[in-house]
Symmetry: C2
Subunit: 668 residues, 2 copies
């Protein structure tokens, strides 16, 4: 026992000092000694050391992040200025692992004195304070690329910007002084640039082009699919040029800036807004600083909080704010305006999924779109899609495609609320393999989610995964459950239709044979079997067919100063034909609804519909006698071939159990 060394602790000045087994005495270090080391950290220094947080964790990701930040920035700038985006991306790959990333847009440009701030300073921008959907929300993205470039190559970034046709372009070479988080302008010049306006960013970075190549292409392709109003040209180092064509001449619905909504606004934020308001009365303060606050809601909130509406918000106590904050929750306040959001829409979701399943001929694609909701005062909306079957691999875990504010998310899938929501649903009853009913299921399926929000709660500045905000998780779950129900419904409908078709084939084949033979035997004429068939079938049979027709739409371009030549843009007309056959023995009269995509434009419809809303066409059908059929036709424009490839039909004023090919109309 005596060959063990014993640890001795001695209390000096009340704090324990340790004698280590090696016999070294480590003295106590005082707060004063520690204080000498404490100092401020500039945000640029912080990210210089923690570049992985910005998405530059390895050389493959560094490449994609650089392209992504550039393109996101370009798209945002164009959309803000109501310009159809033309984005040009070029990568030059040098031997020493250095890549030059060039991203050019035709946006409004950046005025000279703002260039050093926007590109040479982290946490600077215009989109941070605005409550509306945009890609960049942090004021970090593009300057992070500049920072990473200078960190890895020591080279300066080059920015070319032109703000008007009649002004020269400004060329700025800059670096970031990370100690101060300020730009160091190395060189300034003006040049002639053919473009009427726009911005071009050139940054040299250390990156792994070989590995990153595929992801850059994928990112640009996905971006182009959900941003059909943008044209993206991508030039690879070897000169190969990929052109992702613009397929829509319409900018997406512009998201409008709104004020914060009282639901979910944090107490601290409320106090802060009150501190900075120009309003001198509580009632005007509420009406001017928040959205959805009319006279009635304002008064009712103030009453519930037991406050005086003439109170000066700057002089209110914490307790008064607390009362007001609690009152918000008790008053029914209108949901925030969804003007600030710009969802992708079901058509583009379908198109994305179609693209992923080219040549795989999946069994079906279903989508679901949730109504807008709010978390911590921020409006958001969830849209999802699901492809199933076909040649999709059956053994592997399902593929998840994620988008946020129209930007594809390529990394950090495991850390994303999307994955968490999908993993928490038991998919086993939908034909997918999932041990213990939890986790990412395996099976022949692709899942897509798009979250649009005025503030996407990304888990980090690299904007690759969405945090597990309960409200968002619930909405994703609800959306996928809806999809799952559609999948089940779809499977059932298919089975039912197949069964009826079998019966129908049998009847129409065998009955005439019997009739013929019987007639022969009895030496009588063959009787008409229509009524007998209808008696046996006893259903209304609805079948549909969709065809596409190419058309040339003329886009008139009046050239004033520029030199855009006249263009002919091709379009597609989707033609849907629905046959309704009455195989019942009594005449039938009912209403038929055909669901149409919101972004489709309705063309010729026959017979005359009784209503055309933005998501359905309704016909009040004339009485159909037994064994008679009527044809229904309608045309849709504004869609690409395949966007609309199956009718979703509903009936009203008829027992839906007697209808094959349509379901009960539940209102829409």
């Amino acid at each position: 026992m005596n060959n063990f060394i014993i640890t001795i602790s001695i209390t000096v000045a009340g704090c324990i000092v340790l004698q280590f087994m090696e016999g070294i005495i480590l003295g106590k270090i005082t707060a004063h000694e520690l204080a000498k080391k404490q100092k401020e950290i500039s945000v640029a220094e912080f990210f210089e050391r923690n570049k992985h947080i910005l998405g530059f964790g390895n050389q493959t990701r560094a490449l994609i992040t650089s392209v992504k930040e550039g393109v996101d920035n370009g798209l945002d700038a164009c959309e803000e200025a109501n310009i159809l985006p033309d984005i040009y991306v070029e990568i030059k790959n040098h031997e020493n692992g250095e890549c030059k990333v060039i991203v050019e847009d035709n946006g409004p440009g950046v005025i000279k004195k703002q260039i050093p701030h926007i590109f040479g300073r982290l946490l600077y921008g215009s989109r941070f304070y605005a409550i509306r959907q945009s890609r960049g929300q942090q004021g970090i993205g593009i300057s992070a690329v500049v920072l990473y470039g200078q960190l890895t190559t020591g080279k300066h970034a080059k920015i070319i910007s032109k703000v008007a046709q009649d002004r020269p372009a400004v060329v700025t070479e800059l670096a970031i002084d990370t100690n101060k988080n300020r730009a160091e302008v190395i060189n300034k010049d003006t040049v002639h640039w053919d473009k009427p306006c726009g911005t071009r960013v050139e940054v040299s970075i250390i990156a792994d082009y070989k590995r990153g190549k595929r992801f850059v292409y994928d990112y640009l392709l996905s971006t182009s699919i959900v941003n059909p109003h943008a044209q993206i040209i991508y030039r690879e180092p070897d000169g190969t040029e990929h052109i992702f064509e613009r397929t829509s001449e319409t900018l997406p619905k512009k998201s409008v800036e709104i004020k914060p909504h009282p639901y979910g606004v944090e107490l601290g934020t409320l106090i802060k807004i009150a501190k900075n308001t120009k309003s001198r009365k509580l009632s005007t303060f509420l009406k001017t600083e928040f959205s959805s606050m009319g006279d009635r809601t304002t008064n009712s909130a103030i009453q519930k909080a037991n406050l005086d509406k003439n109170l000066n918000p700057k002089e209110m106590s914490r307790e008064q704010f607390l009362a007001l904050h609690s009152a918000f929750k008790e008053v029914k306040i209108m949901a925030p305006s969804i003007e600030c959001l710009s969802p992708i829409g079901e058509t583009l979701i379908k198109r994305s999924l179609k693209h992923e399943t080219q040549e795989i001929s999946p069994e079906f694609i279903v989508t679901a779109s949730r109504p807008p909701s709010v978390y911590s005062g921020n409006p958001f909306q969830v849209e999802v899609g699901l492809v199933y079957g076909g040649k999709l691999p059956k053994e592997e875990t399902i593929k998840i495609l994620r988008f946020a504010n129209r930007v594809p998310l390529l990394y950090q899938q495991g850390g994303c609320v999307t994955t968490q929501a999908i993993s928490s649903i038991d998919w086993r009853r939908y034909g997918l393999n999932q041990p213990s009913g939890k986790g990412i299921p395996s099976g022949p399926a692709i899942f897509l989610t798009h979250i649009s929000s005025t503030l996407i709660p990304f888990t980090s500045e690299s904007k690759e995964a969405i945090a597990d905000v309960t409200e968002i998780e619930n909405e994703i779950k609800l959306a996928f459950r809806e999809c799952a129900r559609k999948v089940q419904y779809h499977i059932h409908k298919e089975i039912r239709r197949a069964k009826t078709r079998e019966k129908f084939n049998l009847i129409t084949k065998i009955l005439p044979e019997i009739a013929k033979k019987s007639a022969n035997m009895l030496n009588k004429p063959i009787p008409s079997l229509d009524t007998i068939i209808t008696k046996i079938m006893d259903v209304v049979w609805i079948e549909d067919l969709i065809e596409y027709e190419k058309i040339k739409r003329e886009s008139i371009q009046t050239t004033l100063i520029g030199e855009s030549p006249e263009q002919q843009i091709e379009g597609t007309i989707t033609k849907s034909r629905i046959m309704v056959i009455n195989y019942k023995h009594t005449p039938q009269k009912f209403n038929l609804y055909a669901i149409i995509p919101e972004d489709a434009v309705v063309g010729t419809v026959s017979p005359k519909p009784s209503k055309v809303s933005n998501n359905y066409i309704k016909w009040s059908l004339e009485t159909i006698p037994p064994a008679k059929k009527i044809d229904i036709n309608f045309e849709l424009a504004g869609l690409e071939k395949g966007d609309f490839d199956e009718n979703d039909l509903y009936v009203e004023n008829i027992n839906p159990t007697y209808v094959i090919g349509a379901d009960k109309w539940e209102g829409n």
Copy 2:
């Protein structure tokens, strides 16, 4: 066709203006208009809006993050000052969803004028610039809790700090002015505090105590296991007190601050260091600013770069730095000192895993520790452990325990490089279920990883997941592969030992019977069977047994000013007994090695070993005649009961195929 509305694009001033279908003309917005909105974002404002990035995404996590940041801070402060940590955590839960989180330590305290900076300002601290292992590395954690508190409750934080026994404690109430990212001191006072020194932080936050409760307990328990030198007392809202006792009187090896290592230092960082150096010559610059740079390495790097060693580093061009930077890679430079790291050690890893498997009696626990490595100039080290079998659930995905710099990571498992590394290994041949050989396997196992580094590359400021840095991922894979090999080896060894034991039992049971009967029949004395048994067995059989004995270690506490009473601390002696029996028919003489944990202290050993290193004991065994056995005993101290529960034995100078219970010594 004519009822389709045609989109018309008109080019005005060269930029496209769109006429929407609704007929509204959205005008172009110019760069000047956009510039008005661009402004600076303070880092506090940024995180106020993006609190999820800091780990406050929902109310459950907010609670855990608050406790975690407080405790991490307390542990770091104590360790920096060489004080054995006594941490006190208390949560008060109020009805309105408000919790008060109190964390107190016995660290060195914070001097008065630093309090507003450390607790009321984001990006401020002492651990950011130091290259050594610590929990806090960002200068964000604790002030983020203060920020979250004020955002959600509008209340100020209260800090009590005492820096010396003979000074009063300072009480500071503060808020954060988020526009400026500066503290607003609301109130300052001094009070008497019994503690000799320490810091106490009280923050009111909105949190979900009901859901968060379990995680707080788990986090504190896990923290206590891997930090056995700390005592943690946790008082729940209802008064229940949990005491996580200190089980080691020794502070972990203190991590020493080092200079950056030339391998992996970014070019930009190199240029920056050169800008700020006091050295006027390239050679002294390299020797003073970097670690592992002696005269020879320095000269050789300068030569390879084709530079003059008398160059002034402040006047070097980018190209010269580039040459130097490239030269670093061509010169063999000693690995960075591991002094800056403080790994957990295999014993504590085993203990953590044991704790997780209480009453589950797993089949075995294996651990593996990799040598230190470097990513981007930052030293890091990976340790892993694996428990297998027993009553662990067979159907569920394996449980993953993650630690970084001795801090348990509870969230974002899916986004962590650990998960990625585990998922990329094909575990099917190790008896785990894993569809297509990818993804998190299912089966009765728990995996543990600990990464220690001077800079853990967390994916975000919430420090919950580690970024996918290639070097780290590879090390984790290597460590788990080693574990997996040990698992296989273990299984094989067990099978082989069981087989031999069966044979042995058979022989020792049947042979004497036969001998007895034969002797009876022949009326002769029963012969000695030893030589026959050895002939049939033809092996050296090694068996071992481990026992524990409680002892009382006296810890002498010389009370100078404080009033700590004398304490008796209990300890455990691990006693290992190894029997070597020669069942071969020739005498055997060989070397035996027993592996011992690095943190164990070796006590009595018999027979006298030929060598005791820090991880093994070696015996050069005397010749053992056939059918004879020798006993080997050794004692270990500094371990808890169960830390060492199985001998890992190796043999040398004997054909290992004839040895049951030990393997071939391959060097260590």
